[in-house]
């Protein structure tokens, strides 16, 4: 066991898989000599050589298109997209190509690639360094979509993702790289070392794709969250004294419906929480599934707490960011109902 923050856990997973499998290659903007703008690949080029860890041109389309070709050859590419906001130029290569190659070729060719990309707000990054585009990927058959909320899961899920033969979008909520941020931007930063999930086994281990976790047990209501929002949800529960159950989805596609449904059947109330803009966000899918399966157990409408339907603003970041206060309001609202 070692104590790691998210970034260290991610780097460790990359390091171990590079050592474990010669076919793993890493490339992306600034990931080589420099080790990435968030330093997730720091030291890896030195250790594994420029053949396996290298800088790429600023062409997200090219990065993913090349990764698809490499995957078809037999490599296991782990490209980095510097910010999730910049994944859109590669959207066609991801949704029409990586996700479809297996279907189109009856499995003769496939794209076993893991696209790592930092997402989410809370760093005063404005419109183009703050977005959470996960719902654009959960709509695409053939993709897997993962978003860890802590170092333990980050390492275990990243290892699973790299080993997975299907393309995985691996979202890294950048606000929690260095600490389990709970939305209280005005309080001192808490480091990961104070959090139990910073205890990370040293070698290879897997957290399975497609399994949610109960991050906080509770009985009065269920909050479905992922990434940074898991910590916001827990903070909201603790601060309000409301006995909420917080589910950390960990994988968005394929979704662990069982864990979700079991929780909501138990609590009878459900809040869906995410940073992405609300309309057509992944929360809509979650709410729909919950009402499909827990209709007779629901005592109040499912509420969404999400980013407002605007681009991500700069100066108003903390009014925009769904923090504990908004979650607490929603919890009170949902408990007052019926």
């Amino acid at each position: 066991m070692a104590t790691m923050n998210m970034l260290q856990a991610i780097r460790d997973a990359l390091d171990l898989k590079m050592a474990d499998d010669d076919n793993v290659v890493i490339f992306g903007e600034d990931v080589g000599y420099f080790g990435g703008v968030f330093r997730a690949t720091d030291g890896l080029q030195k250790k594994y050589g420029k053949n396996r860890v290298f800088d790429a041109p600023i062409s997200e389309l090219g990065i993913i298109g090349a990764a698809v070709g490499m995957g078809a050859y037999g490599l296991r590419p782990v490209p980095e997209i510097q910010f999730a906001d910049y994944i859109l130029p590669a959207y066609d290569q991801i949704a029409s190509e990586a996700a479809r190659l297996r279907y189109r070729s009856s499995g003769e060719f496939f794209a076993p690639i893991t696209i790592r990309t930092p997402c989410g707000g809370g760093i005063y990054g404005g419109q183009t360094h703050s977005q959470s585009p996960e719902a654009l990927f959960t709509h695409v058959a053939g993709l897997k979509v993962v978003m860890p909320s802590n170092p333990y899961d980050a390492k275990g899920l990243l290892i699973s993702s790299i080993e997975d033969d299907d393309p995985v979008i691996f979202f890294e909520p950048k606000r929690i790289y260095n600490g389990p941020f709970d939305g209280h931007h005005d309080r001192p930063v808490v480091p990961w070392s104070k959090h139990p999930a910073s205890e990370v086994p040293e070698g290879l281990y897997r957290v399975p794709i497609g399994k949610a976790a109960v991050a906080l047990e509770g009985s009065e209501l269920t909050i479905l969250a992922y990434g940074t929002m898991v910590h916001v949800a827990i903070a909201a529960a603790q601060e309000s004294g409301i006995n909420a159950e917080v589910i950390d989805l960990r994988t968005l596609l394929p979704l662990d419906e069982e864990t979700i449904v079991a929780s909501v059947k138990k609590t009878g109330r459900c809040i869906v929480l995410h940073e992405a803009t609300q309309t057509s966000g992944f929360g809509a899918e979650l709410a729909t599934i919950v009402q499909e399966h827990c209709f007779y157990h629901l005592e109040a409408p499912i509420l969404r707490v999400a980013g407002y339907d605007t681009p991500y603003p700069h100066a108003q970041e903390w009014d925009y960011f769904p923090g504990p206060a908004r979650v607490i309001d929603a919890m009170r609202e949902i408990l007052e109902t019926a």
Binding site: G65, A66, G69, L101, R104, F109, A141, G142, D166
Partner: protein, 410 residues
């Protein structure tokens, strides 16, 4: 400053439209003797002229001449002629099948047979092509079982792709034929990625990427050029300039202002412009680029100048946008006729032999067609099972998809 304004907005227009006499004066035809064949280790910067010329081997009299003459033997020529003729006859039969409702859509490569057939004959086992929908010649030149192609075209139960894909979107890994995508251009950068992987592994396999004149405007083309320039992977990047992209002539993708070969110059990539209807020129230029790639001396961009003789697809009617007889007047002629004439000149071929070849191939295709049809055609006879549509979305079917399949009861 005294300025004279030229007026307005330019939209390029082809030299002829329906009703006009086809006008190909924009194409200049240098003699095969005029071109230069650099060593495959030549620096890209020292061979820029080749992108503005036209690599040719067959002269007007049908003889193979000049520095690019690959000096192949008679057996090779017969194989090439056979592959091209078979491709054409196959296309014709499939086109008829489409008209008879046996498949939903079909795309011919008429007029462009030399490009794919001769290129394939320069490749080696293990190399990987990333084709568009107009390179069936790559498979046929390898004697790929045409009945399998037909089964896919007919979407019957023997369609190896389970009916999931469009009829002619083959995927034949063992034949170095990458799964065709309906999204134009995407495979061009993928071919570069594949070649990068080959280089990373120290392998000597090369990738051959394909794109059309029209599709070269897509972003994937640029990505391929940038990555090929930066990493110098063992790739041959083929632009098939058949002059048309559905109804748009090559000028709409920037082929009137510049040509497609010279796109390589901006990246210092070795670039060739080649008579794509000259079987020997295609073979020679392909061999050059393939050798260069295999020796890891860098990528090559090749513009194949050819002509889309048929409609864009079975859904298209070219008489709406270009003169009907345009292929007849196309200055580079018909690739099959040109090779045939060459062989007759050489004294190794005759009209009789050619007719016999046609008869033999026609019969072979007819038999294959019958066999394929006996397994079913689109919506008739045996078909891929419905449950196939749920397969291969993922390696292992996730629960939500299994539930959907179960709900459908298949």
């Amino acid at each position: 400053m005294e300025i004279n304004y030229k007026s307005g907005f330019q939209v390029p227009e082809p030299s002829s439209r329906p009703g006009d006499t086809p006008n190909f004066s924009y194409l200049s035809l240098p003699s095969p003797l005029d071109s230069v064949r650099p060593d495959t280790s030549c620096k890209a910067s020292e061979m820029r002229d080749l992108a503005y010329g036209l690599v040719r081997v067959l002269d007007d009299s049908g003889m193979a001449v000049g520095p690019w003459n690959p000096n192949v033997d008679a057996e090779f020529l017969v194989r090439g002629l056979r592959a091209m003729e078979k491709t054409r006859l196959f296309d014709e039969r499939m086109m008829r099948a489409q008209r008879q409702g046996k498949t939903s859509i079909y795309v011919q490569c008429r007029g462009e047979e030399a490009v794919s057939c001769a290129h394939q004959m320069a490749l080696e086992k293990g190399d990987m092509c990333f084709p568009t929908y107009r390179q069936q010649g790559l498979l046929i030149a390898q004697d790929f079982p045409i009945v399998d192609m037909m089964c896919q075209i007919f979407s019957n139960a023997k369609d190896k792709l389970g009916g999931r894909s469009l009829p002619f979107f083959y995927s034949e890994r063992d034949y170095g034929f990458f799964s065709i995508s309906g999204n134009l251009g995407t495979q061009f950068i993928q071919s570069v990625g594949w070649a990068m992987a080959s280089a990373i592994k120290g392998d000597d396999r090369i990738a051959s990427g394909w794109i059309g004149d029209g599709a070269s405007a897509e972003s994937d083309f640029h990505a391929a050029m940038v990555f090929a320039s930066v990493y110098q992977p063992p790739a041959v990047l083929n632009v098939v300039n058949n002059q048309w992209a559905i109804s748009s002539f090559h000028g709409i993708s920037g082929g009137a202002e510049a040509n497609f070969a010279c796109r390589g110059h901006g990246f210092n990539i070795a670039s060739l412009r080649v008579d794509g209807n000259d079987f020997l020129a295609v073979y020679a230029a392909s061999s050059w680029a393939i050798e260069r790639a295999r020796k890891n001396l860098g990528p090559t961009l090749i513009e194949w100048v050819t002509y889309r003789a048929a409609a864009h697809s079975s859904s298209d009617d070219p008489s709406k946008y270009r003169p009907d007889n345009s292929f007849d007047l196309w200055p580079l002629g018909d690739p099959i006729l040109r090779l045939k004439n060459h062989m007759i000149q050489l004294g190794i071929w005759s009209e009789e032999k050619h007719q016999a070849l046609i008869d033999e191939l026609t019969l072979e295709i007819k038999e294959a067609g019958k066999q394929a049809e006996s397994f079913g055609t689109l919506g008739k006879g045996s078909k891929p099972s419905v449950s196939e549509m749920f397969n291969h979305v993922y390696k292992d079917m996730p629960a939500h998809l299994r539930r959907q399949r179960q709900k459908l009861g298949v």
